[in-house]
């Protein structure tokens, strides 16, 4: 029932991400290179798997908070967020995710984080 109605919100989201990353001066590749179904999987991955350390609400845990607000307060640029995902942070538990993501996916993910993920259970974005 939901599969037919799903693409629309994701299309809007990716457009939003495109606008926002453009506004933030991102050198990101076009987020359009990430298929809508894959985008859904990536958003789930952020909540669930990144959430293992950063918290499902992204408010932090073993890893720091990575909500849009926290990233803005820390003045994290799109390039820095992407590089952190892609290369990891040596000396910390943050692993390089390039084994599991394409570069376009990592850039799309960083744009999503900076723009704020769709809210979950009314929690912080």
């Amino acid at each position: 029932m939901s599969s037919a109605s799903l693409p629309r919100p994701w299309l809007l989201l990716s457009l939003l991400a495109l606008l926002l990353s453009a506004a933030a001066g991102a050198s990101a590749q076009a987020p359009a290179t990430v298929e809508p179904t894959r985008q859904q999987a990536l958003l789930r991955m952020v909540r669930q798997d990144c959430g293992a350390c950063h918290g499902m609400q992204l408010t932090g845990g073993l890893g720091p908070a990575i909500t849009a607000q926290a990233l803005a307060e820390g003045e994290r640029s799109p390039e820095l967020v992407f590089a952190t995902i892609w290369y990891g942070r040596p000396g910390t538990p943050m692993p390089p995710w390039r084994g599991l993501l394409s570069e376009a996916e990592a850039r799309w993910m960083s744009a999503q984080l900076l723009a704020g993920l769709p809210a979950l259970n009314g929690g912080p974005r």
Binding site: D49, G55, Q57, N121
Partner: protein, 401 residues
């Protein structure tokens, strides 16, 4: 025949009260037959902030307790009555729930970011280990009133995240400081003035720890180096000994997409079975000499390495991208004797109190599998929303859980 009827009637009354009405043969007119808690448990529904109350004798979800906030990485310890659970939420909330009434009894927002907790040997104190602000807070188990606030500090006086908290005999708690490379023992025999013994220089970045079933050895896994930190708590002056140093020597460690968990019983017979961080291996150490006596190649990076209650086999799940698999290692022969794929994103496994079955949470399939540990058959599949940790009330009677 007579005996049969009696047995089934007794089973029904032990499971759930409402069934009694249907037992015409039972002459009991007692309105509230006592119900035990020994075959109950809780499964964390991490995405919806709820707990599924389950029965382990007749695998079923009995009901839900809702409204617990952010339960990603939530963990639970039990009061000695086995009816009450203390839930440590990611968002720093500590909640006491009652499995029989399926209600929240008490709840405090005790920190900004928490990762787990422990209950004292005598059941009077509950301790929470916090990331933010880094430290341990101790509460009265009855009222959840704050009893002691023990900050965790590094050498510069900066707060450290706390991991690997466990209870020790005599109202003591032991824990590790991720950012300060230390192990602390807090003695709350006088709760008003806790005394903290600190062991420094234990190795870089302890990430989790376990207490052996006898309460004698505390073992902290190290993220920052190959090896583990061991403390013999029966020693007059407990000291840290480095064990299994350099287990990954000569091998390039793999990216660690999920930290292994040490808590849980990874001790089988005379051996401790431990995850090798950054490697597709389980390490085997002798618990007398603490020397490595073997290692077993497995299908991915281990997250939980759990011994069956009888210690005969060890079950292993994995970090992504291999977290759809589970493998079983035979302890005497140290061989993988079984492997299967219970579902997508297997996060946790828990044995029934005597080990005839294991419950396995498959987060992305929204289900919990109940698997027979002798035949490997799937006994039941339960609908549970985004399940993560599974906690059975038998933990109430065990030190270190």
């Amino acid at each position: 025949m007579k005996r049969r009827a009696f047995v089934s009637g007794a089973a029904a009354s032990a499971v759930a009260l409402p069934l009694l009405g249907g037992c015409a043969a039972t002459p009991s007119i007692q309105p509230a037959d006592p119900v035990g808690s020994g075959d109950l448990g809780l499964v964390v529904e991490r995405a919806s902030g709820s707990l599924a109350v389950v029965n382990t004798s007749r695998p079923a979800v009995l009901g839900r307790i809702e409204g617990l906030g952010d339960l990603s990485h939530a963990s639970i310890v039990y009061a000695r009555d086995g009816a009450r659970g203390f839930v440590f939420g990611r968002d720093g909330a500590l909640t006491r729930v009652n499995l029989l009434t399926r209600r929240i009894e008490a709840r405090v927002q005790q920190a900004g970011n928490s990762i787990g907790g422990a209950i004292s040997q005598d059941g009077t104190l509950v301790a929470a280990q916090n990331y933010q602000p880094g430290g341990v807070k101790v509460f009265d188990a009855r009222t959840l009133a704050l009893v002691a606030d023990i900050p965790a500090l590094d050498a510069q006086g900066k707060r450290s995240r706390v991991v690997g908290l466990a209870d020790l005999p005599g109202r003591r708690f032991i824990y590790s400081l991720f950012d300060a490379d230390a192990i602390c023992i807090a003695d709350l025999s006088d709760p008003q003035s806790p005394r903290v013994t600190r062991l420094d220089g234990i190795g870089r970045q302890p990430y989790d720890a376990l207490l052996t079933p006898d309460g004698r050895h505390y073992i902290a896994g190290l993220f920052g180096e190959d090896g583990l930190a061991l403390v013999d708590l029966w020693a007059e002056r407990p000291q840290v000994q480095r064990v299994l140093g350099g287990y990954g020597r000569g091998q390039q460690p793999l990216p660690v997409y999920k930290m292994p968990h040490l808590r849980g019983w990874a001790v089988a017979g005379r051996e401790a079975w431990l995850p090798a961080i950054g490697h597709h291996e389980v390490l085997v150490a002798d618990t007398t000499s603490w020397a490595e006596v073997g290692r077993v190649a497995v299908a991915g990076q281990p997250v939980f390495v759990m011994a069956q209650p009888d210690g005969r086999r060890v079950w292993v799940n994995f970090a992504l991208p291999d977290y759809h698999k589970v493998q079983v290692i035979d302890v005497p022969t140290r061989r993988v004797v079984h492997g299967f794929e219970p579902g997508r994103a297997v996060l946790h496994l828990e044995f029934t109190p005597r080990g005839e079955a294991v419950w396995i949470s498959a987060r992305d399939d929204n289900r919990v599998l109940v698997v027979d540990t002798a035949s490997w058959r799937t006994l039941a599949t339960l609908d549970v929303r985004s399940p993560s940790g599974i906690f059975f009330t038998a933990r109430a009677a065990r030190v270190g859980l």
